[in-house]
Amino acid sequence: MAEAPARPSAQAWTPAQPLVEVRGLRTWFPVRSGVINRVVGQVRAVDGVDLDIRQGETLGLVGESGCGKSTLGRSILRLVQPTAGEVRFKGRDILRIGSRSMRRMRREMSIIFQDPFASLDPRQTVADILGEALDIHRLARSTRARKERVSELLGLVGLSGDFAGRYPHEFSGGQRQRIGIARALAVDPSFIVCDEPISALDVSIQAQIINLLEQLQDKFHLTYLFIAHDLSVVKHISDRIAVMYVGKVVEVSPARDLYRQPKHPYTGSLLSAIPIPDPRLERRRERIILKGDVASPLNPPSGCRFRTRCFKAQPRCAETEPPLETVNLGDHKAACYYPLS
């Protein structure tokens, strides 16, 4: 596991350092049962993650449902309280700061949710949805300033300012996701967690939203943590990609290298499972079909968690957990004793 550098003070942080540094992060959820609600187990949703998110980059986070990717995203924003570890944002450990400092920090970070139908309050107008964050953080001095900002935000996401008085049900899925993005932008953040932002949208709408996110990133120098299960989308939008399996990051690499030379057998099988829309290519492709299902985060296997489904597993894999180590030149890390060549 990577050695954590000495904790820098807030003043010492420079943009050359990672914007977000995650160290030894654990987020466990207790499972209770019985009449006295005794804790009978822990769901180890995030179980010891070290990860850097660099200023201005898009870090893609992929993995199958239940692997902990959404919990990791929410833990980084402290929307769920992690069990242990550190999340340093611009050098400050946000898990250990008071609520007032945290509120100030919240203006720097934001989130876009998956479901544009469930994440907008149906009884609020668009102006209220977008204005709420402005009010909480006192970002609009007057009613007029608030109104102008709302209309500016709508313009940024390609919607007409006339929509401010309307309600969510009057919009299509793609338009609602634009409103969700405008809400995330309201506080003028530097970091946004995009949690499956396009998976609930129609195929023909997805590209519009991806392009919008990319344009906004350029315009405002945003840093994204882009969580998705669709590797083709993640590969398109990300500079680097981290792959999660049962609470652990098993591989992290520049996007292109990950596709060309996956090192972890899980990444390899994930890539080979994704259908490519080209009939001639699809018929020639060799597939790694994994056995079985994803291991349970309630009781993960010993050693490497992927070993129960892995086609390269050896006795050693069951004994100790492989550390996340550099496998290629430079920027490519994987946690595997027998990486793919």
């Binding site: 590209a207 083709s232 590969k235 009939p279 699809e282």
Partner: protein, 333 residues
Amino acid sequence: MSFAHLLEVDDIHTHLAVKDGTVRAVDGVSFTIDAGETLGIVGESGSGKSMTALSIMRLLPRSGSIVEGKVTFKGRVLTDLSEDEMEAMRGTEIAMIFQDPMTSLNPVYRIGWQVGEPLRIHRHVDTRKSIVAAVDLLRKAGIPDAPRRVGQFPHMFSGGMRQRAMIAMGLSTSPSLLIADEPTTALDVTIQAQILDLLRTLNRDYGTATILITHNLGVVAGMCDRVIVMYAGRVVEQGRTEDVFARPEHPYTWSLLRSIPRLDADEHEPLKPIDGSPPDMVRLPAGCKFTPRCPFAIGRCAKEEPELLAVRNQLSRCWVTQGGVTLDGAGVG
């Protein structure tokens, strides 16, 4: 009995009554499928692909009805059968699996009981034999430890396992047609790969004709011999999968193929999205329904609706390509 095709769908019109009017969910869809074939139906939500399948199965919601058209299966007109005759057909000759295997399995019955049910009802097999058969079916569907698994309840199965159980149930009476409606949409990609592999194997080993309904063009590319592209309740393009992907002849297919990011793309280029939104099915525009979003539209498109006619190797419902214009920069490979 001899018949030209295993299944013949002839100009089906299915209407749904909704709050503010009538939705022509399926508006004149025709196609055929032969034994051993895999046919893909692609389209976005609301394009009518699921309603087409439910019309074939006559499993439409209460608000829906087939107002016109004919479905013929092995020479029998399904749309003329009584409900009892249709019920027998569904249990034996045509099987359907759905997107969400949790809601399609009954939570209070054991898996073995449910998988063996079609055999008890339609083949009059006794309970014990039906359970024995269920073990065998589950094994064929790739469920490990099947003798123990038959005694379990659906909630003890993972999503992928439930979908396998549904497939096992569907195949219990050796149907000649399997309709799979988004069978892998709710599943993770590694599990999707397992299920698609299973469907491929069944198709190869038993010659079961398969209609695969999906919004995933990658799945179609890997699975289907032929493909139907639907938009606003209509077939807009139809042809051999290779032809349609290599040189789409409808602007919707063309735009869709360009808009999706590809895993094997090398350079980072901005995606080319399709403008606008999917159509409001209650208030469809006149003429070709794709006109408001179409980069190739000409004057005629907004006024008259084109027919589905032969263009090169496939069928396309487009004035532009029917007029001999090539959609350029399209296609893959």
